[in-house]
């Protein structure tokens, strides 16, 4: 399976800055690609385009040769955000947050170290590291083919970061999920990725 980004351009306002112009990238499902760039270079925008939250002005995004928009319902490309506090509904208990995913397996929930007791809590009753585990579990649903990780561990301490990445690497390798990881930390990307891409200023 292949994720192809072909000549994608995007700008937020009509005469605003071009965030991405003619951007091309191909990611195989066996690959783990690290994306590195200073802020304002369009890393998060690219992730939003790939996970279907935004539509490109020009160009196409193909999954397995089909345009992303042709996948009805569950999007095969799932994104995990930088700030988990902002990525969960504060009024849902964590058990319900997990149900937003695509039949998330018990194995994943266990593997991420989520404790039974946390399922009954509200997001405000968990720390950032604990919440981020839920967000990752939610993104690893049955039909997920590619995972986008946008600085998912910058807010966490080093041990939690290492814990989470060890599990994620094992999981994506086992299920053949392609990974696109955004981070500003070169040593981290060297640990987790098979190849790195640097975004250039337009």
């Amino acid at each position: 399976m292949k994720l192809e980004i072909k000549n994608v351009s995007y700008q937020y306002t009509k005469d605003g800055r071009k965030i991405l112009e003619d951007f091309c990238l191909t990611v195989e499902h066996t690959e783990r690609v690290g994306l590195i760039a200073p802020s304002g270079y369009g890393k998060t925008t690219l992730c939003k385009l790939l996970s279907g939250y935004l539509l490109p002005d020009k160009g196409e995004i193909l999954v397995d040769g089909h345009p992303l928009a042709s996948y009805q319902g569950y999007c095969p490309i799932q994104m995990v955000w930088q700030q988990p506090e902002l990525a969960v509904n504060p009024r849902l208990r964590m058990r319900e947050v997990l149900l937003e995913g695509d039949e998330v397996e018990e194995r994943i929930v266990r593997g991420l170290g989520i404790e039974e007791d946390w399922l009954n809590r509200f997001p405000s009753e968990l720390s950032g590291g604990e919440l981020q585990r839920f967000c990752i579990a939610r993104a690893l649903g049955k039909r997920t083919k590619f995972l986008l990780a946008d600085e998912i561990t910058t807010m966490l301490d080093l041990i939690t970061q290492s814990q989470i990445w060890h599990f994620l690497l094992q999981e994506v390798q086992k299920r053949g999920i392609g990974l696109l990881a955004v981070s500003h930390s070169q040593p981290l990307l060297e640990q987790i990725c098979t190849r790195q891409v640097r975004l250039e200023k337009q």
Binding site: G128, G129, T160, H166
Partner: protein, 320 residues
């Protein structure tokens, strides 16, 4: 600054056995006590930058609020805070905060959204001297003079960060406390923000930076206080973090090993939630060296090789 000179002076800020407890309503009228910070010790000298490093949700921000005397009404604080050798009482902090002791808060949400940047930093003063000083500060942080006439929402994240630091600089602070100055900034901006605090220390102030980013703190600070589950487990110099062997506490060692450049290893488990903290060492449930003694009673803080640590098993790990 040489090691010797440091010990000769009285520290600008010395926190001894700080405890912060929240009183909460549990169910109905039942009240529970939530000990968020227990037995915290930290020292800051003039010209020194100390980083308190701990993961998010461990209660680090409360440390800053505790020193500044701006804790919420349902919190109570115990222990001793000494400022320049004298106890920092409620009256004293109320007099000193905002001029000698300044807090650089976590986010721009602490700025008044309805007040222009210029008058906000000068606290409404129309004095020419203050205005000139503001322009100097702006020049130093490469902010344009026009910024004075803008409102906080019109500025970018990095600019607002510099505004927050400017608010601290308009006075001549002896002690600067910075609460998470870097989140949401990319590496280059974050480094620059930390360098601003380094400059403040180099100008002679004592700087206490509270952060979750150990790697960043190691680049700019002089000393690191490792904060875990509401307490400081170790105080070490930055150079101690170069090798695992020079670190003292098993948690600091685990942090070291978890750095991507040092092998990316991890210990399982989670930082305990304040409601169910274990007795004794808070790291005991995840520690390989843990014994019966670690789980009961308080672990005293000990001085060893120029740093401080709360661990019972040092002799074994440092058979030198």
């Amino acid at each position: 600054m040489s090691e010797k000179k440091k010990t000769e002076q009285t520290p600008i800020l010395k926190i001894e056995h700080m405890n912060i407890t929240f009183t909460q309503y549990d169910r109905g009228m039942r009240q529970t006590e939530l000990p968020v910070i227990r037995n915290l010790d930290v020292e800051v000298h003039a010209g020194e930058m100390v980083a308190v490093v701990g993961s998010s949700g461990s209660g680090k921000s409360l440390l800053a609020h505790g020193v500044m005397g701006v804790l919420p009404y349902n919190a109570s604080m115990g222990g001793r805070i000494l400022y320049c050798g004298e106890e920092l009482t409620k009256q004293r902090i109320e007099r000193l905060r905002g001029n000698e002791i300044v807090l650089v808060p976590q986010s721009i949400a602490y700025l008044n959204p309805l007040m222009k940047i210029g008058s906000q930093i000068c606290k409404g003063s129309k004095d020419e001297k203050v205005k000139r000083k503001l322009r100097d500060i702006f020049a130093r942080y490469s902010l344009k003079p026009e910024v004075e006439e803008l409102y906080p929402f019109e500025l970018s994240g990095g600019m607002n960060r510099r505004i927050l630091i400017s608010t601290a600089l308009i006075e001549e602070p002896k002690l600067v406390i910075a609460d998470e100055p870097t989140p949401g900034l990319d590496l280059k901006m974050a480094k620059r923000a930390m360098e601003h605090f380094r400059e403040l220390a180099d100008m002679g102030a004592g700087v206490l930076v509270i952060t979750h980013d150990l790697e960043l703190a190691l680049e700019t600070a002089d000393r690191i206080a490792v904060f875990y589950a509401g307490t400081t487990l170790e105080e070490a110099t930055v150079s101690d973090f170069e090798r695992e062997e020079t670190l003292r506490h098993p948690y600091s060692k685990a942090l070291w090993r978890a750095m991507p450049k040092n092998g990316f290893g991890f210990v399982s488990g989670e930082q305990p939630y304040v409601k169910d903290l274990p007795g004794g060492c808070p790291f005991a449930p995840r520690c390989g060296r843990c014994t019966e003694e670690c789980r009961k009673g308080e672990i005293p803080s000990r001085e060893i090789r120029g740093g401080r640590v709360r661990c019972l098993h040092l002799e074994e790990s440092f058979a030198e």
